[in-house]
Amino acid sequence: MSATKLETSTPDVSPPVRWGEKIIEGLIWAAGLSTILIVALIFIFLLKEGLPTFLDIPLRQLFGKRWYPIEGMFGLASLLAGTLLVTAGAVIITVPLGIVTAIYLGEFAPPWQREILKPLIEVLAGIPSIVLGFLGWVALAPIIQNAGAPTGLTAFTGALILAYMALPTIISISEDALYAVPKEYRDGALAIGATQWQTIWRVVLPAAKSGIVIAVMLGIGRAIGETMVALMVTGNAANIPAFGADIMFQPVRTMTATIAAEMGEVAQGSLHYSVLFGIGILLFLITFAINSLARKLVGGESVRRKRTGF
């Protein structure tokens, strides 16, 4: 078995060496390798700086409720809760809205509308987050406060702005995914007597599933990782919001906002400093977990094969 393999891979006549090809191949290889290397370095750095968090602080205290770094209390529960609320809120708003908009753009909108809307959406994607945070602060927060919340700077305010930020990504990538669904699938369904909506729901969306999941993932990634907005409009209160109908309308503080707000004040090498890196590690792990989950959802390898198999 292995002998025959060897034989076929070493032909008698060696082909001429194409140096141009070799150089390009080498460059591509180097580029790919350097990406991997950079990611590895980042992770190693994170680990080196943040590891004391998990070694020096007892886990019970680490996942406790109180975040008072000055008194040496590093309970991350409130920060985790803040991130979870803001991100989940943003996702619940943005995912259905984004997918429905993509469906409208891709399947229903007449060409002239598409020509106006698509560039507009790309412009939205380019608005700096500080501008959105500012808008949220001066425009959105008062509305929310007037609606009866104790303050305008709440988890919900953050979720709304983050939802808005993630929207362009979700729309344009989902739309690409819908566009990539072969026209033959649609024709097949329509020719059977399916309505346009049945065709979209039962054939087009399932066929575009992997692309749409990727769109959602990138959207969530943006919402979790966003700092500026979280810092400006979520109220910056490191406490666990009381569970109830108004859970979204209390001030919170996210993990990213904590890092950004406190990094400037800590002494390098202090425990507080390493806890901030520890939060970074947690963020990294959460994103990684979500991505793995997404890959599971779309079925990884087999999806790619199916897509090219047509």
């Binding site: 060409p111 072969p182 033959e184 699938y185 024709d187 097949g188 369904a189 329509l190 020719a191 059977i192 007597g193 399916a194 309505t195 049945q198 039962r202 054939v203 399932p206 066929a207 199916k306 198999g309 047509f310």
Partner: protein, 257 residues
């Protein structure tokens, strides 16, 4: 039954079709006989597919199209304003040139039509429908043990028969086939032709083909298209043995086209 007594399933009267300013079909007149196989032949770009897709109004999705004249299905104009296109397509199924199964299981492909048309909500009835359709498309024996497999894993000939099963699952009255065998090897092609014969016992079939032998072998009636016009329409045996027009003759003998 003599040919006069066979009822017309579809009547085409002075039918013209436009893509924007371009006239793709010019005042066609022909009958499509019930439970017979009608073949449409002609050189590339002469409008065969356009005509076929006009019969179930699949062209409707293209912007800027316009139809004139009439296509009557059982005497009713399918282009009348009150016609529900979705309902029309339930009655007139279509099989495409390139096999286009959905990226779902074999079972789900066939069950698609019965499901969207809500033909049944009983699991066992649905199963029965899927089975009968697959048997009708001469595919059952090959796939009965792997109904849950992805349809994408079938070979092209099987995929095309799956598409036929998918079409007959909703029990249409007419089946349109646009070069259904052109992507298949000779054996699979014969398979599909045999299948057409069997299907013609229950369905009215219109087939577009580039293959003269196929038209001569597999059809009862043949229409010859040229530059958007119907040059000649006749019983297949008559059209191939003694064409009335010189253009037809030179095309079917391969001197033109």
């Amino acid at each position: 039954m003599t040919e006069q007594t066979i009822p017309n399933k579809i009547d085409v009267h002075d039918f013209s079709f436009f893509y924007g300013d371009f006239q793709a079909l010019k005042r066609l007149n022909l009958p499509i006989k019930e439970k017979q196989i009608t073949a449409l032949i002609g050189p590339s770009g002469c409008g065969k597919s356009t005509f076929l897709r006009a019969i179930n109004r699949m062209n409707d999705t293209i912007p800027g199209i316009r139809a004139e004249g009439q296509i009557l299905l059982d005497g009713e104009d399918i282009y009348a304003p009150d016609v529900d296109v979705v309902e029309l397509r339930e009655r007139i199924g279509m099989v495409f040139q390139k096999p286009n199964p959905f990226p779902k299981s074999i079972f789900e492909n066939v069950a698609f039509g019965p499901r969207v048309l809500k033909m049944t909500n009983r699991r066992d009835e649905l199963h029965q429908m899927v089975r009968e359709s697959l048997e009708g498309a001469a595919l059952w024996d090959e796939v009965k043990h792997r109904l849950k497999d992805s349809a994408m894993n079938l070979n092209p000939g099987q995929q095309q028969r799956l598409c036929i099963a998918r079409t007959i699952a909703v029990q249409p009255e007419v089946i349109l086939m646009d070069e259904p065998a052109s992507a298949l090897d000779p054996v699979a092609t014969l398979h599909v032709e045999d299948l057409m014969r069997t299907l013609a016992e229950n369905y009215t079939i219109v087939i577009v083909t580039h293959n003269m032998q196929q038209a001569a072998r597999a059809s009862d009636w043949t229409g010859f298209f040229w530059l958007g016009e119907l040059v000649e329409f006749n019983k297949t045996s008559a059209l191939f043995s003694s064409p009335e027009r010189e253009l037809t003759e030179s095309y079917i003998t391969g001197r033109r086209g």
